[in-house]
Amino acid sequence: MRKIILKAVRIIDANSKHHQSVQDILIENEIIIKIDHSIEDSEAQLIAIEDLHLSPSWFDPSVSFGEPGFEDRETLVNGIKTAGLSGFAQIGLNPNTNPVTDTQTGIRFAQQYNSSQAVEVFPLGALTKEAKGKDLAELFEMQQAGAIAFTDYKQPIENPNILKIALQYAQGFGGLVQSYPLEIQIAREAQVHESLNSLQLGLKGIPAFAEEIQIKRDLAILAYTGGKLHIPFVSTKNALKLIEEAKADGLQVTCGVAIHQLFYNDAVLHEFDTAKKVMPPLRDEEDRLALVAGVESGIIDCVSCDHLPRTPEEKQVEFEHALPGSIGLESAFGALNRLFGLEKTISLLTQSRKVFQLEEYSIQEGQKASLSLFLPNENYTFSEHDVISSNKNSIFYGEKLKGKAIGVIHNNQLLLKQL
C-alpha cells in the first residue's frame, strides 16, 4: 500500500491515548507511523472526508455467503466487498456451504482472498461431517488450516454425546465448540416464536423453553467435560439467565446475539412479512429488552449481524416456505449506533475477538493499521440503496438508522466507498 494520510479524523478507541481526539494519521506499510494534529507528506495519498471517524477494525463472528454451492446467495468476492464497505475488516465465515466446510480444504478455500484483500476471512468449520450431527469432522486439521471455531451453524446438536465428545476432543488443541440452542423435538416444524402473535397468525410456534432446555443440557455437559463452549445465538430472557449463572459458576461459556434480535419483537410478523422471518425467531418484547440489557451489562459476549443472504426464490414466497435469515453487514453499524451510541457500538463491534482469541488492534503509533472508517452522525432510513450484497433480503428496510460505515484499512489494503 502506498503511504496514506487520513486528514482530521476523529479517533474512537478507548484503549488509545488519542481516544476522541481529532488527528491526522500517517500509515505506511501496514503500520501507523505518526498520529499528530497536522501531518504533511507530498508522496502520500490524502483521505480527507468531513466528519470521518476511525476505530480499530470491526469483526463479526457470524457471516454467511454461499460459495461454494450457493453462489446465487452470495459469492466470496462480493461478500468480502460487502463486509469491507460495511466497516468489517474481519469476519467469521459460517460453514453453511455446499459442500459443507468440514475439511481443511474447505477452510483453505474460504481463505483464498485473505492475502490480497482488505477483508480477512476467518472460517468456522463444521463440527460434524456434512453437519449431519453424527460423526465429528476433522477438527484439528481444520484448526491448523485456520478455522476459529466449530459449528453446524443452525443445526442443533441433537445427540448430547456428540457434544460431549466434541468438547472433550477440542480441549487437546484449544478448539472452540459452538452449539445452536434449540431442542428440535420441541420446536419440530415451527418457524416463529410461540406467543399470542403466532396464535393469531395460525403459525406453529417455538416456545422459549425449547431454547432454554437445550442450553441447560449443554451447560450440564460442559460442567462434566470442561473446555470452552460458545452459544452463538441466544434469544430469550431465561436463556440469558442460565448463561449468567453458568458464568458465575466458573464455566467457560460465552454467548452471542443477532443485532435484529435487539431491534425487533415478533409483533412485526403480523402481515406475514418473510423479510422478518429469522432464526432464532424474534421473541417477545420482554425477551428483546432482556437481550439489550444483556448486551449493555456484558453477559452477552458477541454481537453479530448474522448476515445470511437469501435469493428471491427463497424469500418472496408464502411465509411457511420462505427460508429464515436476513443480510446484516450493511445495517450493522447504523443499527447498533442508534441503539447504544457510538462508544459502546465500537466496543461491541470489536469485542468478539476475545471469544475467538484473535489479535486485537489499537490506534497508536507503531501499531498495525487495522481500521474501520465511518460517518457516525448520518441519520437515514435504511433502504435497498444502502445494500451491496447480491441479494436484498434485509429485515431493516424502512428503519431509521444512525451512521454509515464507508470502508476499512487492513492487511495493507484500503477499501473505501465512492462517496
Partner: protein, 310 residues
C-alpha cells in the same frame, strides 16, 4: 354503513363489527332470495370469479360455487393438491395466469397461513380467504355467527362453547374473533394438548371438563379432530377422546337446559358428536349449511360492489 371497510376478506381479524352487521343484513336478504322459486339474481352478471382450491374441500367449494351462481357471476374452478404447488412463485404465477383471463375475484383455499394476504399484495383482484392453514376461515365464522343470531335472536352476551381440536383449527380462531366482535362470551374445551398455550389472551375461557363447559354455555360448536394435521398423537386413542369430549345425549340429559348444537362439518359421527344428537332438533348443522350459501353471497356481493367503484 353501506359498504365494507375492506377490499378483501382475508380474515375476521381485519373486519369491524359494522362490517359483520352489514354482511348479516345482506345475507338475510339473500337467504330469502334462495328460498324463492327462482333462486337467482342478476347482480353479478359482469363479474368473473375464480375458485382456487390448493387443498381438498368439498363443502366450502360447493357452497362458494353455488353462492356465485345464484348471483349470476361467471365461475371458473381450479383445484391442485398442495404437494404440487410448493412455491409461492408458482402460486403467484398460477393466479396471475388466471387473472390474465380477466378474473375479478379470487376465492382461495390454501394450506399455508397467510397465503391470502401474500396473494392480496401480489395480484390485482379481490381475494376471499376460504381457509389458509390454521390461520383463518372467515366465511365459516360468519355463517356460524349468523346461524347463532338467527337461532337465538342476538349474539351479544350469549355463551358460546367451542369443543375439540382448537390447535389445528382455523374455524376456531375465526369464530373467536367473530364472536368476540359481536360481544358474545367464548369458552373452548378440549384436551390441553389441542388448546394453544396463549389462547386465553384472546379473552377466551379455557376448560378441560366438558360437563362443566356444557353447564356454562348456550351454544356448543363441536369441531372435528383433524387427524390429518397432527404430527404426533395428541391423545392416546379416539376411545379416550370420546369418553372425555364426545357430545352425547346422556351428557346433555344431565343439564336442565336446551343447547344449540353446531358443527362445521364433516362430522365424525360417534366421535365429537353422537348420531342421535347430530340428527336431533337441537342441532342446527343443516341450517349452517344453508346459511353458508347466503352469507357467501353477501360477502361476494359486497366485495364486488367495491371492485366496481375502483
Amino acid at each position: 354503513m353501506s359498504e365494507l371497510s375492506v377490499n378483501h376478506l382475508l380474515g375476521i381479524k381485519y373486519l369491524k363489527k359494522e362490517d359483520i352487521e352489514l354482511i348479516f343484513k345482506t345475507a338475510k336478504h339473500f337467504k330469502e332470495v334462495i328460498n324463492r322459486p327462482i333462486k337467482k339474481v342478476p347482480s353479478l352478471r359482469d363479474v368473473t370469479i375464480a375458485n382456487l382450491f390448493f387443498e381438498n374441500s368439498t363443502r366450502t367449494r360447493l357452497s362458494f360455487e353455488l353462492a356465485e351462481k345464484r348471483l349470476s357471476a361467471d365461475v371458473v374452478n381450479f383445484s391442485a393438491a398442495s404437494s404440487s404447488v410448493k412455491k409461492g412463485e408458482t402460486l403467484v404465477d398460477t393466479v396471475n395466469n388466471i387473472l390474465a383471463m380477466k378474473v375479478d375475484m379470487v376465492v382461495m383455499r390454501h394450506p399455508n397461513p397467510g397465503a391470502g394476504i401474500f396473494l392480496s399484495k401480489q395480484v390485482d383482484a379481490s381475494i376471499i380467504n376460504a381457509g389458509d392453514g390454521a390461520h383463518e376461515h372467515p366465511t365459516q365464522a360468519l355463517l356460524d355467527a349468523f346461524s347463532i343470531q338467527e337461532e337465538l335472536g342476538d349474539i351479544g352476551g350469549k355463551r358460546v362453547l367451542i369443543v375439540g381440536d382448537i390447535l389445528h383449527s382455523r374455524v376456531a380462531l375465526s369464530n373467536i374473533y367473530a364472536l368476540k366482535k359481536m360481544d358474545a362470551k367464548v369458552m373452548v374445551c378440549g384436551p390441553k394438548t389441542l388448546i394453544p398455550k396463549h389462547l386465553h389472551k384472546l379473552g377466551v375461557k379455557v376448560e378441560t371438563n366438558l360437563d362443566k363447559a356444557l353447564a356454562w354455555c348456550d351454544v356448543a360448536n363441536m369441531l372435528r379432530v383433524q387427524n390429518e394435521r397432527m404430527d404426533v398423537n395428541y391423545f392416546p386413542s379416539t376411545k379416550e377422546y370420546v369418553k372425555q369430549f364426545g357430545l352425547t345425549k346422556k351428557r346433555l340429559e344431565k343439564l336442565n337446559k336446551e343447547l344449540v348444537i353446531m358443527h362445521p362439518g364433516p362430522i365424525n359421527r360417534g366421535v365429537e358428536l353422537s348420531s342421535e344428537l347430530a340428527d336431533s332438533d337441537q342441532a342446527i348443522i343443516l341450517d349452517q349449511v344453508e346459511n353458508g350459501v347466503a352469507v357467501r353471497m353477501a360477502v361476494i356481493y359486497l366485495l364486488a360492489a367495491k371492485i366496481k367503484q375502483l
